[in-house]
Structures are given as structure tokens and as C-alpha cells.
């Protein structure tokens, strides 16, 4: 059984996403489930797939709704689909959509499915706010109380500090280090300067702006009709700054280390709301249904390292393995898409690709090599477009395959770094 057996390869037929909006802005009233539904519904309509023929739906999200934790099943229960569409949700931090895609691809490769929908969504405008431990203990005790006296007693143990709600922090549970602190640390270890980072961020915005202006990016976006008035539609991402200059970026204060730091709001990805999905179909099924695949999944790899070391450096361990599994080297790759959590992280990853030491850690005798910057994130990345944790993997997959087709390239490589010291990489081949 191989993912590359002719006729049984996994084709990516279409990809759609919502516009990405900075958290607390245009899409704030939509939940992750609603964003996911918008992307999946449009995917079904655009691809002309028969909804009844879809075998499974896998979806990623990082901060699930407490009330509806299986986002995939909620989306599958849209009336567009028969109620028998089985669905599950996955979480692999910022690579959650990638996990959904590889899960679905695995199911197709195993022969368990022929048509699958995979993607992810996140609403960082709608994170659950939790009660403190003390307060929730009191609530649980009160709910079990049988008399008024017991109920009053349950609340008598509450202290003032117990009233402070808890919001999920983007920090590593094991190390207590926030993402930003980790990026800051990586910049220092790998010698990434502030200027390098700002230049990279500027390029991200610039490329995203060009991609939006010439409609390559917006072609992947479903217009979202905006509640409550429905007077307007959101048709493109709202985090891309067409007018940003290097001077403006240089003027920003570092956030995580005010004295010696280099990571700013300008060279990091913003908190974002959005959803994205792709349609995966077994090669022979696509052919018999007259569908036109855009790309095939050639290989993928996951990796992990100690989160206390360099939290976002694991793509360096995953990418060489994905390439090896694909039977390719970096020279065969026409386009590279890397998730940009931070400019510092991308630049650290790029240095790692060229490093003998990191190659050895990945089990390779030679480094993967230097990525040609002209082939990297040619329509910008998460720094400009935004990063709804659960959705980003599906966005990158869609952009990579569409641009590969436009440029008439053959192979595309993508990497995604994720919390917990996780990394992902995939190689796709143009259909």
C-alpha cells in the first residue's frame, strides 16, 4: 500500500477559505464552526462534488468550543450533507488542518474512503473564558448541594482572586514560555537580526498585496456576507498592509523583550479568525467523476523536538524526511510555502535547512540546502495574511497547489511549525 500507487494517489481537487480577519474585527460574530461551514459549503458548491458522495470530513481546531467540541461533526451536520457523513476533529496546534488533511489522505490511501473533505477553522475572537479553579469547585459543590445551607457553604470558600477569569494563553504548558518569548529566543540563538525580520515581514505584506490585487489570492476566498446588517461582504483578508514601509516596521517596539528583543507586532503573525478546507479524492475516482485534480499528495512527515529548546524549529526535522519520502531533493522543488508564525521562526528554519548539525538530527548526511527566496511564500504568508491556528494548514495547501499550477511547476514543498515543538512538512506534485 502506497500513497503513490498509480490510480490510487490522493488528489487535491479544490481548496477554499474564508477571508482571514484580525481577531476582534470583521468576522468576530462568527464562531469557528460557522467559519468552517462557510468554507466547506463553498468548497462543495465550487467543486461541484455531490455532497452525498463525500465519505468523511476531518477538521482541525486548536481552541474548540466547550459546548460543541467536535467541530467536524457540527460542520458535517450542515443540511447540505446527508446525516450519515462521519466526521472527527483533530488538534495538532498550528498544524491542525494539516493533520486533518493527512488523516483524510491516509483514509483514502487505506481504501477506506474515496472522497474526503479536510480543513480547519479558528475564531480567536471567540475563545472560551474560564472560571478559576476555586470558583468552578464552588459551582460544582453548589450544584450537588441539597440544602440552602450547603449551597451557601459551597460559596463561602471563594476568595477574591477566584473571581478573576482565566483566558487561554498562547504559552507552552510545560515550559510556561509564550510563543513570542520562544521566537525571541530563536532569533537570539540563530543570530536573526531585527532588520532581517522586518525585511521578511515587509516582503510578506508586499507579496500578499500583489496576490490580492491580481486576484490570485482572492480566487481562493469565499466572500463572507457580514451580519448583522448584511449590507456588505468581506472578500479579502484585512491584515495585509499595502502601505507598510520598512521605516514603519523599524519604529515598532519589541514586545517580548523590551531591552534586547527584536520580535515586534509587525514581524509576527496576528491573532486571526478564519476557516479553510480542501477536497481530497482518490485519483481514479476523480477521473471517473470527471473532476480535475490540481495536485497529488506525494509525501508528508511530522517531527518533534524539546519545546524548551527552540519551540518552532521542528520543520527543520520534518522537511528533509518528507523530501526523502518523496524521493526528491530541494533542487526538484519549484515552490515552497512556509507557515510564518514569526519572521524570526521562518528565518531560523531556513538557517536550519542549511545546517549540517540540524541535518544530522533529522537523520540526514547532508543538509537540505538553501531555499531560493524567490520561490518562497510568493503570495505572502501568515505574518501578512493572518493565522487562524486551525485553518492555516489548509490555506497553505490551497495556495501552494494553485500557484504551482499557475507557474506550471511540478513539485511544491510546505512546512508548518506548531506549538509543543511540533513540525510538519508535505510534498505535493502538480496534477
Amino acid at each position: 500500500m502506497s500513497i503513490n500507487e498509480p490510480g490510487k494517489r490522493v488528489a487535491i481537487v479544490a481548496g477554499v477559505r474564508t477571508p482571514f480577519a484580525k481577531a476582534g474585527t470583521t468576522l468576530r460574530s462568527l464562531s469557528a464552526i460557522e467559519l468552517g461551514k462557510l468554507a466547506v459549503s463553498e468548497l462543495v458548491h465550487r467543486s461541484d462534488v455531490d455532497p452525498a458522495a463525500v465519505d468523511l470530513l476531518a477538521f482541525g481546531t486548536v481552541i474548540p468550543s466547550v459546548l460543541a467540541p467536535n467541530i467536524a461533526r457540527e460542520i458535517a451536520l450542515m443540511p447540505l450533507f446527508p446525516k450519515g457523513l462521519q466526521a472527527w476533529s483533530v488538534s495538532r496546534a498550528c498544524a491542525s488542518a494539516n493533520q486533518a488533511i493527512t488523516d483524510a489522505a491516509d483514509q483514502i490511501a487505506l481504501g477506506h474512503a474515496t472522497i474526503a473533505i479536510a480543513g480547519g477553522a479558528e475564531s480567536l475572537s471567540n475563545v472560551p473564558i474560564l472560571h478559576s479553579r476555586g470558583f468552578s469547585d464552588a459551582l460544582v459543590a453548589a450544584s450537588k448541594a441539597k440544602t440552602l445551607a450547603q449551597r451557601v457553604q459551597a460559596f463561602s470558600k471563594i476568595r477574591a482572586k477566584d473571581f478573576i477569569p482565566i483566558t487561554p494563553a498562547i504559552a507552552e504548558p510545560t515550559t510556561g514560555e509564550t510563543m513570542g518569548q520562544s521566537a525571541e529566543k530563536m532569533a537570539k540563538i540563530n543570530g536573526i537580526t531585527r532588520e532581517e525580520q522586518d525585511r521578511f515581514a515587509w516582503a510578506s505584506h508586499h507579496n500578499a498585496q500583489v496576490g490580492t490585487a491580481d486576484a490570485r489570492l482572492t480566487a481562493e476566498i469565499v466572500p463572507v456576507m457580514l451580519p448583522p446588517a448584511y449590507e456588505t461582504a468581506m472578500t479579502s483578508d484585512n491584515g495585509i498592509r499595502a502601505d507598510s514601509t520598512l521605516e514603519q516596521l523599524a519604529a515598532l517596539k519589541p514586545v517580548f523583550d523590551r531591552r534586547y528583543g527584536t520580535v515586534t507586532a509587525g514581524n509576527a503573525s496576528p491573532l486571526t479568525d478564519g476557516g479553510a478546507a480542501v477536497l481530497l479524492v482518490r485519483e481514479d475516482t476523480a477521473k471517473s467523476l470527471g473532476m480535475k485534480p490540481v495536485a497529488y499528495i506525494r509525501s508528508y512527515a511530522y517531527a518533534a523536538l524539546d519545546p524548551g529548546e527552540q519551540l518552532l524549529q521542528a520543520p527543520v526535522l520534518a522537511a528533509p524526511v518528507a523530501l526523502k519520502r518523496a524521493g526528491l531533493t530541494l533542487k526538484d522543488i519549484d515552490l515552497v510555502e512556509m507557515h510564518e508564525a514569526f519572521a524570526a521562526q521562518v528565518l531560523s528554519n531556513l538557517r536550519g535547512f542549511e545546517s549540517r548539525e540540524w541535518a544530522a538530527r533529522a537523520g540526514m548526511s547532508e543538509p537540505m540546502g538553501a531555499v531560493d527566496r524567490d520561490r518562497l511564500n510568493v503570495m505572502g504568508g501568515s505574518v501578512a495574511i493572518g493565522h487562524p491556528f486551525g485553518a492555516t494548514g489548509a490555506r497553505i495547501t490551497t495556495t501552494l497547489m494553485n500557484e504551482l499550477a499557475r507557474r506550471d511547476g511540478q513539485f511544491g514543498l510546505m512546512t508548518v511549525c506548531a506549538a509543543g515543538g511540533l513540525g510538519f512538512s508535505m510534498v505535493i506534485e502538480r496534477a
Partner: protein
């Protein structure tokens, strides 16, 4: 053929109703006969201590009396006697030795509800299909098997009148709240619980006909004492007159019957009064016409839309709607209400957004009225997918275009659509004025092009005109007709001709109103006369509502097509030229306040007319004759020319499309009721006095007059 089966277990007789060969249970004379025989058996068998009545049909308890038998009544006595027989049977169920429990799963209507009311106890299944209603007034009748007597006793006067005078459906949960039923259970245990309750009744553990209705302050004040009831009845009579304008005698008969239940010396006298009034109503022309409309719409539901061999309709599992305006949004809304996905396209995302907002507004109505849950609302909304490109059209079997009324724009959309859809896809154009054949002339596949004329607002107006061209493929017609029916419309198929049918017969009617203004008749005199004739709004008010621009445009098209007899009136032309648009412009023949509320005739409008503000008196009967005959005569021309396939389609179209008074049955029924010779005589008289030959009787009317023929056979039954 047995419709009722009896099964006895441990002293409880279970009677299962299952009328062979029918989808619903109905009371026919033979069912009633069977029932009586079984009741006799049960009552004489001392081993039987209680009984349960249950239906063998999923989703239906009893839909009521088989109304075919009503057509057999030759006199009020016949009908009164039928009612008395019903009373006797209900009396046996109510007072007999053996207590009877009704186990209701599904529709419990008319005679079915009267049966349940006569039972000692009512258990219902908690499903969406379980509804209770007394719809008799909708057929011009009153409940005739004790409904006007037992329902008020069961649920109180106010709740009973609400059901009896409207015929509306009451859902299971509401029925429990009203005390109409005694218990609501899961359908899986309905039978078992009914049997258990039958045993309880037999053992005296629960009393027969125990009242469980709610007695709040309002009920104590208004339902439970004679003074309160007098107030309620008087108020109901006033409301009825206001709403029905006195055209529907059954409403008053129902009120009289209910009142008799309280005032008559004995229970028997109350039932006797109900029977007498039922008999009286069964003979009224209103009842005859409402029954006709019922049969006509029922027949239309089975009409495939083509004559001869009808190809089966193609499956429509999704549609596309192009044009996100008010019509497009309405069409999309009624489609997703039925669970069918809609690809919703316009040229700009902001327009699509507005359209989706309009769709949500229509759907939210269901949420506000609690017809649907929040989840169902979200699901319906989720079935609409907005787009500004022709993506997602590849597998769409039916595209409905509802863009701007402009031939070139529509042809452009047609060409674009054909390039992205499959060869089998149907292109339906929603237009009220443009000939379908002209639009189809731009098509590569004109046999897949058809007209769908929806009426505005789409979610409220029940009619759909499907317009066929000479080239259209029969399966396109059957598919579109079946789809129209699926989205809840009454569908008539008409041939492609200017104005199709509905607007065609409306044009001379509205125009005649304008000509009356030219002659110096007052705006409100015309509207009052036609409203009294039975139209929901008068013609001038209608122009204001539709918009003078639209009325003017369609008037011009009709004048061009039909010449002198549809020449527009000076009044309409001048008011339109003065820039008045009607309600939407807050200025028309009527005045409107800031909020757009109509305030009465805008006297300044008369200054625009050559006659000025000096208005002449004209008897309402003359106004009514001229306007109604203008419409009737045009309808007859349409039948002559084959625009409508039958008088039935024409009558249904006029009633459901224009609001032609339902109690008159429609223009063709109106001719039959008046007598075709009399209609021709009146038309000739008008023709002699008015220009343009517009009252010259349609050839079909002249021909029928010579033979004293009718459009329908006399017994009122639809073949």
C-alpha cells in the same frame, strides 16, 4: 373492504382505522356504517370494558369527512340529516357504556377532531405531524359533528372560536396547553399508554371527560361566565365583519352555533342548531365556490403540466438563483425552506450580501412565529451559498434567473449560464412582462428555457405561473411544475403571450379603473366598490402598492400588444409623469406618512386630471360591473386563445394570483353563476357605450350564450 379492525386484549377493544387505498383516513358513509356496527358489538360484549381508537396510517389520525359526499347533498335537509347522523354516533361514543380513548398520531382534522372530542380521553403523539384543526369554514361550512358544541366546552370559548373561525392548525404542545388533549407521549408508546388509560377509565381511576384546561384570570373573566362570553361573542362578530366584509356566511353561522351551545335550553338543542346551520351553509353559493377551489387546487396538485404522455420530472437536488433582488431572494428563501441548496449569484458581493440579508429576513419570520427552531433557521440559511462568479453551476439541474426586467440583460445571463451548466440544465426566467420566446431566442438550447412567473412577495403569494413556449421540452415543463409544487406553490401552466395570464387579465381591470378616474369618479369610490366586491385591495391602491412605474411599464407593453382596448388612461399616465411612484415613493394616488403608512386619498392628485377635483358620483354596482367584466372578458379571451389550458386554471390563477374573490370561485365560475347570456348582454350594453371595443364580448362567450352553455358541469365536481 374494511376500514376499521377490532382487536380485543384483556377487555380493551382497540379499533384501528385504516381506510384501504387512501393515504389518509376519511369518514365516508361506509366507514361510518362500519364504525356503528363495531360500536354496537363493543357495547353488547360485556367482556369489553374500554376501547381505544387509533389510526393505522403513519402521520394521520383522521383528516375529516370525505367531502365528496357533500356534493351529493341536494337540499339543506340532506346536509342537516347527515350532521344529525354524525351527532348520533358521537353521542354513543361520548355517553356509551364503554369509555373510549383517542390515540392521536398525526393530523386530527374536522370530523377527526370532533371524534376525538367525543372520546373520554385523548392521548397524542409528540410529533411535528400531530396537528388539530376544524377547517370547515375554509370550505364555507361549519363543523357538523358536534365541534361547535364540544370544543368550547373543552378549551373555553376564546380558544374554541380562534380555532373554529380560522380553521388554523394547533400543534400538539399547544393542544396540551389548551386542554384540548389530556396527554402527550412519545409515538412509540402511544398505543400502550392509550390502553393503560382505557383501563384506568374502566376502573374509575380517572373520570370521563375530565376538564384539564387552564383557568387563569382571563379565562375566568371571559370564558367562564355568561357576561364575559357575551363580550367575547360580540367582539368576535365585530372582528369577523371587519375581516370578511360579510362575504362569508359560515363565520356567522359558526358563531351562532357556538352561542346556541350556551343559550339553548338543552344539549340536544345545541346540536340540533349546529345541524340546522350546517345544512343551511352546505347550500350556499359561497360553500359551492370554496369547494370548487378546493377540488381545483387538489386536481392541480396531480397535474403534471403537460397533456398526453408526461415524462417524469428530473430530480432537482439543488438550484441556482441569479439576481439577488427582492424576487431572487424570495425564490431562494422558499427553496431553502424545503431543504434544497441554492447557489445564489449576483455581480457584486455587496449585492449578494443584501440578498442574503433579505433571505434571512424571510426565514426569520418562521423563527419569530416559532414554526422553526433556531437550529432549523441556521440550517436553512446555511443552504444558501452566495457567489459573484459562475462557479458551482456545473451540476445544477435548474437555474432560475431573476435579474432586472430587460431583454438584453436577461439574454446575456442566459448565454453566460448556458456556457457553465450541463446540457440538461433548465434555465427558468422569472419575468412578468418579457415574452419567454424572445428571451429563449438567444439560447443555444431553447428547449431548456421556460418561464417561471412568481408573485411578490414570493413567500406569501401562493401562485406560480409556468410559461411554456412552442419549443420547450416536455420534461422541462414537468420538472419545473413539480419543483414549483415542492416549494409550496399552486402551479398553472400558461402559454407564452404578452402578460401571460394573470397580468393579462389584470391589465384591462386596472385600466378600467383609470378610465373611471378620467370620467371623474373618485379614487376611494372605486377602491371601496371593488373591495366590497371582494377583492383584497381596490385597483388604485393596488397600483400604489405595485408602484406606478411598474404599472406604467406593463400597461405600455399591454397597449402595444393589444391596441386600442388597452390604451392607458390619462389618469395613470399623468400621475406617473408627475413623478409619483406609489407607496415606495411615499406619494401616489394616496398620501403616506413618514413611516410609509397609507393615510387616505391624496386630494392633490386630482389637480393632475383634466376633470380636476370635482368628482362625479357613480353607483358602486356600476363600478363593480365595469371592472369585473373587463377582467372576466379578458379571461375568456385568454381561454379562446389557449393562453390558459382550462377554465379551472384560469379561475385558480385569478383567485390565487390577483385575489379575485374566492367566494365567487374565479372569473369563469362567476360567468357560470351569473349566466353566460346575462354576461354577454351586460358586455354588449357596455360595449355600446364605451370606446375601443374593449367590452366587445369574447367569441367564446358569444358562442356559449347561443347554446346557453356553462364552463363547468352543474354538480360542481372537478373531473
Amino acid at each position: 373492504m374494511t376500514a376499521v379492525t377490532l382487536e380485543v386484549t384483556d377487555g380493551v377493544a382497540v379499533l384501528t382505522l385504516d381506510l384501504p387505498g387512501e393515504s389518509v383516513n376519511k369518514f365516508t358513509p361506509s366507514v361510518i356504517e362500519e364504525f356503528r356496527a363495531l360500536l354496537t358489538r363493543i357495547e353488547s360484549d360485556q367482556a369489553i370494558t374500554a376501547a381505544v381508537l387509533i389510526s393505522g396510517k403513519p402521520g394521520n389520525f383522521v383528516a375529516g369527512a370525505d367531502i365528496d359526499q357533500f356534493l351529493e347533498f341536494r337540499s339543506a335537509q340532506d346536509a342537516q340529516q347527515a350532521s344529525a347522523l354524525g351527532h348520533a354516533m358521537m353521542h354513543r361514543i361520548e355517553k356509551g357504556r364503554v369509555p373510549v380513548v383517542a390515540a392521536v398520531d398525526g393530523a386530527c382534522l374536522g370530523g377527526g377532531l370532533e371524534l376525538a372530542l367525543a372520546c373520554s380521553y385523548r392521548v397524542a403523539a409528540e410529533t411535528d405531524k400531530t396537528v388539530f384543526a376544524l377547517p370547515e369554514v375554509q370550505l364555507g361550512l361549519i363543523p357538523g359533528a358536534g365541534g361547535t358544541q364540544r370544543l368550547p366546552r373543552r378549551v373555553g370559548l376564546q380558544a374554541a372560536l380562534d380555532m373554529i373561525l380560522t380553521g388554523k392548525n394547533v400543534r400538539a404542545k399547544k393542544a396540551l396547553k389548551l386542554g384540548l388533549i389530556d396527554e402527550l407521549v412519545h409515538p412509540a408508546i402511544l398505543r400502550d399508554i392509550a390502553i393503560a388509560r382505557a383501563r384506568d377509565l374502566a376502573a374509575g381511576r380517572i373520570a370521563r371527560q375530565q376538564s384539564n384546561r387552564h383557568h387563569g384570570a382571563r379565562e375566568l373573566l371571559l370564558d367562564d361566565n355568561p357576561i364575559g362570553r357575551a363580550v367575547v361573542l360580540r367582539k368576535a362578530r365585530e372582528t369577523t365583519t371587519k375581516k370578511s366584509k360579510g362575504h362569508y356566511p359560515a363565520l356567522y353561522a359558526a358563531l351562532d352555533a357556538v352561542a346556541a351551545g350556551y343559550h339553548a335550553g338543552s344539549e340536544e338543542q345545541g346540536y340540533a342548531e349546529e345541524a340546522r346551520l350546517f345544512g343551511e351553509m352546505a347550500m350556499t353559493p359561497v360553500c359551492r365556490e370554496l369547494m370548487f377551489l378546493f377540488y381545483a387546487t387538489t386536481a392541480l396538485k396531480k397535474d403534471p403540466g403537460v397533456t398526453g404522455d408526461a415524462p417524469p420530472p428530473l430530480p432537482v437536488d439543488r438550484i441556482a438563483v441569479i439576481g439577488s433582488g427582492f424576487m431572487g431572494a424570495g425564490i431562494a428563501a422558499v427553496t431553502v425552506m424545503k431543504g434544497i441548496p441554492v447557489r445564489f449569484k449576483d455581480t457584486e458581493a455587496a449585492r449578494v450580501a443584501k440578498g442574503i440579508g433579505a433571505i434571512r429576513d424571510v426565514l426569520r419570520d418562521g423563527l419569530t412565529k416559532r414554526r422553526i427552531t433556531r437550529q432549523q433557521f441556521e440550517d436553512q440559511v446555511g443552504l444558501v451559498s452566495g457567489t459573484v462568479r459562475y462557479t458551482g453551476f456545473g451540476r445544477v439541474p435548474l437555474v432560475i434567473e431573476a435579474v432586472f426586467e430587460d431583454l438584453e440583460v436577461k439574454q446575456g445571463v442566459l448565454r453566460e449560464t448556458e456556457s457553465v451548466t450541463s446540457d440538461a440544465a433548465i434555465f427558468a426566467t422569472n419575468t412578468s412582462t418579457i415574452p419567454i420566446t424572445q428571451i429563449a431566442s438567444a439560447a443555444r438550447r431553447p428547449e431548456r428555457v421556460i418561464g417561471m412567473h412568481f408573485f411578490s412577495p414570493v413567500h406569501r403569494m401562493p401562485l406560480l405561473e409556468v410559461i411554456v413556449t412552442p419549443q420547450v421540452a416536455p420534461e422541462v415543463v414537468t420538472t419545473v411544475v413539480a419543483f414549483g409544487r415542492r416549494i409550496g406553490k399552486t402551479v398553472i401552466v400558461v402559454n407564452d403571450a404578452p402578460g401571460f395570464f394573470v397580468n393579462r387579465i389584470l391589465a384591462p381591470y386596472v385600466n378600467e379603473a383609470g378610465l373611471l378616474l378620467d370620467e371623474g369618479v373618485a379614487v376611494d369610490a372605486i377602491d371601496r366598490a371593488m373591495s366590497a366586491f371582494g377583492f383584497p385591495v381596490g385597483p388604485i391602491q393596488l397600483i400604489d402598492e405595485v408602484g406606478l412605474d411598474i404599472a406604467g411599464k406593463s400597461g405600455a407593453i399591454m397597449a402595444e400588444a393589444f391596441g386600442a382596448r388597452m390604451r392607458p388612461s390619462e389618469a395613470l399616465t399623468k400621475v406617473l409623469a408627475a413623478g409619483r411612484l406609489g407607496r415606495k415613493g411615499k406619494q401616489g394616488f394616496y398620501a403616506y406618512d413618514e413611516a410609509g403608512k397609507r393615510e387616505g386619498v391624496d386630494e392633490s392628485v386630482y389637480r393632475l386630471f383634466s376633470g380636476g377635483s370635482a368628482r362625479v358620483e357613480m353607483p358602486a354596482a356600476d363600478i363593480q360591473r365595469r371592472l369585473s367584466l373587463a377582467m372576466v372578458n379578458e379571461a375568456a379571451r385568454c381561454l379562446d386563445e389557449g393562453v390558459v389550458r382550462s377554465a379551472r386554471d384560469g379561475d385558480v390563477g385569478a383567485v390565487f394570483g390577483i385575489g379575485f374573490p374566492p367566494f365567487r370561485g374565479g372569473p369563469f365560475r362567476h360567468v357560470d353563476a351569473t349566466g353566460v347570456s346575462e354576461v354577454v348582454r351586460q358586455l354588449e350594453e357596455l360595449d355600446a357605450r364605451h370606446a375601443g371595443g374593449r367590452f366587445s364580448p369574447a367569441p367564446v362567450l358569444r358562442e356559449m350564450a347561443t347554446k346557453n352553455a356553462r364552463f363547468y358541469s352543474t354538480d360542481g365536481r372537478m373531473e
